[in-house]
Symmetry: C2
Subunit: 200 residues, 2 copies
């Protein structure tokens, strides 16, 4: 296996944490998003979506999409389980992971990508150029604030987001909350539960 | 189990098709999105996200999010497999399902929700009110066109989207393509592969 990573980017960090929790050692190749290495023909031949994280399997198959990569790693290295251990716990982790992706991660990314100078003409992930839409900056921010309040409420009396152990849902939440700093949105004072949790 | 459905809506249709492919019989309760039944306190107590599909388990747990519901159904009724049968095929289905959700379904939904009169003040799924952003209408449409071209190219020489059998990825693609009609975007003439596939 070969893991295509980009150290400063939030999405591949999800997979990096997942691998670290599994305690396995997978060779890593850094892809420099800042210089546009993901948009080169060479990387596009690996992953037509031009995204990291990506995971190349030993037969040459390249997986993109965090959920697919984490599912493959979970099946290959079952311990410790990070996507549940039975039908109900798996569904619970996947539900929270999807909620956090849509209500949190997509919101903070939307606010960031539609504002940051470096993403001019690349407001949507992938090889195609889409213009920034300024109205998405405050909307993404408002949605992120709302997400933090929702998650804080959910965490009252809970040590983990989905079930009684650390899971992929906690990883997705962690990188979402940390990404808040990119849009100058630290955890609000009112979110006591989120503030209590260690962020790494 | 009790499946909260809404006959005319695309997302619960994904679960409806999934259940039909499994050949199982699960009691259904229709939630009338048009009259706002999903926003009532009664339904919010079931699913705080105020979304369908939702699946109530026999212990009272309510699952939201299609991926979580389908994972639970797949684990409970393994045959026929709709999310793969081993690590590699599962990852492939989940990768294509995520791609289709993000590049297709999110795009067509964005174009629709930011335009349709009925979604004024509700441009984002969920109980909170967000204003429509007119720029998202053409952008969502352009992204949907691009998604159709990508999927058409991928289907050349393939009977199914992910692997050698019908899967959740095909279901997600089907409802996305059909939803194109909601933004007056039929399958383009140039997409010969998509046009060949039966849509129901």
């Amino acid at each position: 296996m070969l893991f295509y990573d980009c150290q400063p980017a939030p999405s591949p960090r999800r997979v990096r944490i997942f691998i670290a929790e599994k305690g396995v050692d997978i060779p890593v190749q850094q892809i420099d998003l800042r210089s546009g290495e993901h948009l080169t023909e060479e990387f596009k031949a690996k992953n037509p979506d031009c995204t990291v994280p990506a995971l190349e399997l030993d037969d040459g198959t390249v997986l993109s999409e965090t959920i697919a990569i984490c599912s493959y790693l979970e099946d290959t290295y079952p311990e410790p389980p990070l996507i549940g251990h039975d039908a109900a716990s798996r569904a619970n982790v996947l539900m929270w992971n999807a909620r956090i992706e849509q209500q949190g991660l997509a919101a903070v990314a939307e606010s960031f990508r539609n504002h940051a100078k470096g993403f001019k003409g690349r407001a949507v992930t992938g090889p195609q150029g889409y213009d920034q839409i300024p109205e998405l900056v405050p909307r993404g921010r408002a949605r992120t604030e709302q997400f933090m309040a929702m998650l804080d409420q959910h965490l009252k009396g809970r040590a983990f987001i989905a079930g009684d152990r650390f899971s992929m849902a906690d990883i997705t939440a962690l990188i979402t909350i940390d990404m808040g700093a990119w849009i100058k949105l630290p955890i609000p004072e009112s979110c006591a539960e989120l503030r209590l949790k260690p962020t790494e």
